[in-house]
């Protein structure tokens, strides 16, 4: 169990194992700084070890695992349907995307049909959840940049969305409301009315957000040309989601590998070419509008019917032997679930591909040579959810 060998080459250095290992390659007269695991702008328990020359970052290394919960092992030990409760907690900000990934992986493996109405409900709820996630990111990111007020405005809208989503899901944050073959509850006419009211309200709010923040000269100065990701770099690191779309690649799983009924909707994929933090910011803000457009179309075309396939399995059940991979577009990028089944009532292996992990792995390269303030801006622009990284 003792990981550090007895003859520790690092002994005599300060800090824990990671800091000692990091300090081995330190330059002379540089400052080793631990940003996190408790730091206001690492959004949870991410720890980044920085080697600094004054305010400039020479080198950095993220240290993960502070909120590791071994979701993959839990997946092997519980029935298929029980795993939905975990899916609400991997990425708590876009829980429904993970719900969908898990439902989709199992449905693909077992060949479970999902009724059209359930598909539409899934789309509406997931997109509402995506807006919620982007709004929280917006507020928290500006908090990182020193503007305290926007997060409160974001929460005004978030509250409304959570009120709407609460009806079909019963929760406000850690949703676990998808099931194999459908969703747990139907949506009512009141839900439709409130969702439409939200669609009517949001453009005005977004205009206010842009007035307050996006046009601000200080913000533009902070974000433009900071943390530029080019396409080759994004490919080598497997970056997805707004990080990739900020680099000029129109790659969105909803369009590239359409799942559910996303092929029935007409929506544009927001893309920015600059690749800097401002581009990622802009992509996320535009995605809120895209999601609103999708919700509007889904509400218009909402078919009648079951919200749950009557033939779908309930309780503990056994899918056929086999494997399946299912990808969905989460708020942070491509969520993928690989599932291998051995024909028992628990999965043989569940592998969760979390977009935040791949996106964060860009950080050491992006942060090199930037100021500490830039590092905060870059870290925020990657939109990290630490529980999703550590899983």
């Amino acid at each position: 169990m003792n990981f550090i060998p007895a003859a520790n080459p690092c002994s005599g250095l300060e800090g824990d194992f990671y800091a000692q290992r990091f300090a081995l390659e330190a330059h002379e007269d540089s400052l080793i700084l631990n940003m996190g695991p408790q730091h206001p702008s690492t959004h949870g328990v991410l720890r980044v070890i920085l080697e600094m020359d004054g305010e400039y970052i020479l080198r950095c290394e993220p240290v993960l695992g502070y909120i590791h919960r071994m979701h993959e092992a839990m997946g092997q030990n519980r029935a298929y349907v029980q795993y939905f409760a975990n899916m609400g907690r991997v990425d708590y900000l876009h829980a429904l995307a993970w719900n969908w990934a898990w439902a989709g992986a199992v449905e693909r493996l077992a060949g479970i049909e999902v009724p059209a109405r359930a598909q539409f409900i899934r789309v509406i709820c997931t997109e509402l959840n995506r807006i919620n996630s982007h709004l929280l990111w917006w507020g928290a990111y500006l908090l990182d940049l020193g503007a305290v007020t926007p997060i409160m405005y974001a929460f005004e809208d978030r509250e409304r969305i959570m009120d709407i989503l609460q009806e079909p899901t019963g929760s406000r944050l850690t949703y676990s409301s998808f099931r194999f073959g459908g969703v747990v509850a139907d949506i009512s006419s009141d839900f439709v009315r409130r969702a439409r009211a939200l669609i009517a309200r949001m453009p005005e709010r977004l205009a206010m957000y842009h007035e307050l923040v996006t046009g601000n000269a200080i913000l533009r100065g902070r974000l433009e040309d900071v943390g530029v990701v080019d396409q080759a770099m994004a490919r080598r690191y497997g970056a997805t989601g707004p990080v990739l779309r900020g680099s000029g690649v129109a790659y969105d799983v909803r369009r590239a590998e359409p799942y559910g009924v996303y092929d029935q909707f007409d929506f544009a994929i927001p893309v920015q070419d600059a690749g800097d933090s401002m581009a990622r910011y802009q992509v996320r803000m535009d995605e809120i509008e895209t999601s609103l457009a999708i919700i509007g179309q889904a509400l218009d075309g909402l078919p009648e019917g079951h919200f749950m396939n009557p033939d779908a399995p309930r309780g503990k059940w056994t899918p056929p032997v086999g494997e399946s991979y299912f990808a969905v577009e989460g708020a942070r990028g491509k969520i993928g679930i690989y599932l291998a089944s051995d024909g028992s009532d628990t999965p043989y292996r569940v592998k969760l591909r979390s977009p935040s992990l791949s996106n964060l792995s860009l950080f050491p390269e992006l942060a090199k040579g930037t100021l500490l303030s830039d590092a905060v801006a870059i870290l925020g622009s990657l939109d990290l959810v630490i529980p999703e990284i550590d899983r």
Binding site: L142, L145, M152, N216, I218
Partner: protein, 328 residues
């Protein structure tokens, strides 16, 4: 030694200092409340509401809490420097007020070098922050201290230059003379003649007091709390009080230099003075709750590439016109 042998000036000074201390303490507490209320209403929530009517006594309760807290010195810190720093931050503040004319004959010290006195004591603040950051034995505090020093050095220059423009125009460093030089109506104020100097002064004063968007030495989301990180209880409280008091000082000076001081129609002078001062303070508070924080290099660029050249140009023009029209 009889009572008569004490010079009148000394008595006046002592009384003024005591009164000013009370003024600063009361204002510090009130500004804390106002700031939180403004923040609350800007963010569409009530702000402090539970202690007293509309949370009026919240700041008092907070002060009581701070006083009651244990003062802890971090391991490896230099205790003398560490504890002298908050005192040093607060000590010069009452001295800065003594030359400020709050109204007709309402000042602590008769001096014809009022501006010089204020500006020289203002320099103490950065020394205090530097000591606090250094003595804390904390890397974040140290970074905050380094930022504080660089920022103060960069912004003192355009600040001085913009003040100098007013002094050139008036031909005096005496705050009372400068006030007397202006009238009661806005078009008679110096700001009407020197809008650029006022703008530069205002930006620099926000930066000098380390208020958002120039709060880099504190920079909550970058440096956790910068120089404040290791301070507990009243150590933290005094540094905060000094910060609010500094905000008051720069607003007072701006009122005197640019907004006509205590001059104003109908109402007695001190009311006008306070009204103008609080207006500026409110503006500074609003700015804090609106803008993101600037980056360090942008902060320095703003000073060296914009404010300093503009202030120099402004000073040159002022000198030229002052000479042309025979000065004051």
């Amino acid at each position: 030694m009889t009572l008569e042998s004490i010079p009148d000036e000394l008595i006046r000074l002592a009384v003024a200092l005591v009164a000013l201390m009370a003024f600063i303490a009361a204002n510090g507490i009130m500004l804390l409340y106002v700031e939180r209320k403004v923040a609350g209403h800007v963010q569409r929530r009530p702000g402090p509401f539970e202690v007293g009517p509309h949370g009026l006594f919240q700041a008092l309760a907070d002060a009581g809490k701070l006083v009651g807290k244990q003062l802890s010195t971090p391991a490896g810190a230099d205790p003398l420097l560490f504890w002298i720093a908050p005192l040093m931050a607060f000590m010069p503040v009452p001295l800065m007020f003594i030359a400020v004319p709050f109204g007709q004959n309402l000042w602590g010290l008769e001096t014809n070098l009022g501006i010089v006195l204020i500006l020289s004591f203002a320099g103490f603040n950065v020394l205090a922050l530097c000591l606090a950051g250094w003595a804390s034995n904390n890397k974040w505090s140290l970074l905050g201290a380094a930022r504080a020093v660089a920022q103060a050095v960069a912004y003192e220059i355009p600040l001085l230059l913009s003040v100098l423009a007013v002094a050139l125009m008036t031909g005096s460093l005496d705050l009372r003379v400068i006030v007397a030089h202006q009238g009661g109506w806005p078009w008679q104020w110096n700001v009407a003649v020197q809008p650029l100097a006022f703008f530069i002064y205002f930006v620099c004063s926000v930066a000098e007091t380390n208020r958002a968007p120039f709060d880099l030495p504190e920079a909550e989301s970058e440096l956790t709390a910068g120089v404040h990180t290791e301070y507990s209880g009243m150590g933290n409280g005094i540094i905060f009080l000094a910060e609010y008091a500094n905000m008051l000082v720069v607003s007072c000076v701006a009122t005197v230099l640019f907004l006509g001081g205590f001059n104003g129609p109908i109402l007695p002078g001190p009311w006008w003075f306070l009204a103008k001062m609080y207006l500026l303070v409110t503006l500074i508070i609003f700015m804090r709750w609106t803008y993101p924080r600037v980056r360090f290099d942008q902060l320095l660029n703003l000073s060296w590439r914009w404010l300093t050249p503009l202030a120099l140009a402004n000073l040159l023009l002022t000198a030229f016109f002052a000479k042309l029209w025979g000065g004051a």
